[in-house]
Symmetry: C2
């Protein structure tokens, strides 16, 4: 009972509208994949737990055993509590940066290669987000404003990374 972010991610999606586990898997892929990836296995398991805890209920059953879940008042209260009262854990683990500490174990040329790779990967990731941004109709649904704010973070993040990697190369030289 420490992390529980997946729990609240599911509540957040169900607060928008009811959905089945199968629906939620796809909604994760579409919108949350970049900030909180989750597997099929994890989602089904967590939905069962949430139903047991009374935060969601099976509101409808369809063909092929489909179960549609709806958020309960208790679930909504939990979501709102998490959003307003619980401080988000700052990001810590960063594999990319961890390696930077050990660049001494490489030759200067190898270190430069590492940083150059980071630079171009950031550039590629940024380009991908820009493509995504222009492909989406940002006026369509209520999620879109928030989704756009999150995407803007990504753009700034990759731009920052790219510039930093370029700067870092000069430090190593």
């Amino acid at each position: 009972m420490m992390g529980m972010s997946l729990r609240h991610a599911l509540l957040g999606l169900l607060a928008d509208r009811p959905a089945s586990g199968y629906d939620l898997i796809h909604r994760f892929k579409e919108s949350l994949a970049n900030v909180w990836p989750a597997t099929q296995s994890q989602i089904y398991t967590e939905l069962t737990k949430l139903a047991d805890a009374g935060e969601i209920t099976v509101s409808d059953e369809g063909p092929r055993g489909r179960k549609e879940y709806t958020i309960t008042p208790a679930g909504l209260a939990d979501l709102r509590h998490w959003l307003t009262e619980v401080a988000p854990k700052p990001i810590t683990r960063n594999e990319t940066l961890l390696r930077v500490f050990f660049l001494d174990a490489l030759t200067p040329a190898e270190a430069i290669t590492y940083l150059t790779t980071l630079e171009s990967r950031s550039a590629a990731a940024l380009a991908e987000l820009l493509t995504l941004e222009s492909a989406i109709d940002w006026t369509a649904n209520p999620f879109s404003t928030n989704g756009h704010i999150a995407l803007e973070w990504g753009k700034r993040f990759y731009r920052m990374n790219q510039e930093w990697a370029e700067w870092a190369k000069q430090q190593v030289t």
Copy 2:
């Protein structure tokens, strides 16, 4: 056998110089805490595994059961392989950003409060890094160049976050 970053973090520190588990716990706190936190429990467990795998050896034993570990050629080869051949996993899970997707479940005023809190927390974190930066003698040890490059990343990261949060508030309004 998927993550293994702790394994390589330990190898990286031991590549600099031999150390005991106890030493490594403190070195983690000093230098790696912000990029790859590890607990006492985890470190001792992993050192035993690394010794069993032949990547490190007990090179000395001291009072109070102290065991000093030294990296082996096999361990160094593994470290270098990890640094040059294994692509670092990009950061994904971001609790702060996850919440942004669900800001609709709050009132506009509450959403603004959330973003304002992010902004001031980023500002505080940046100030802390700037203090740290001026307190350290960056010419002292070989780790310092790399440590400084990592710290610069942190500065840019928090600055970016702060500016983004400010921008995001205007979007919500």
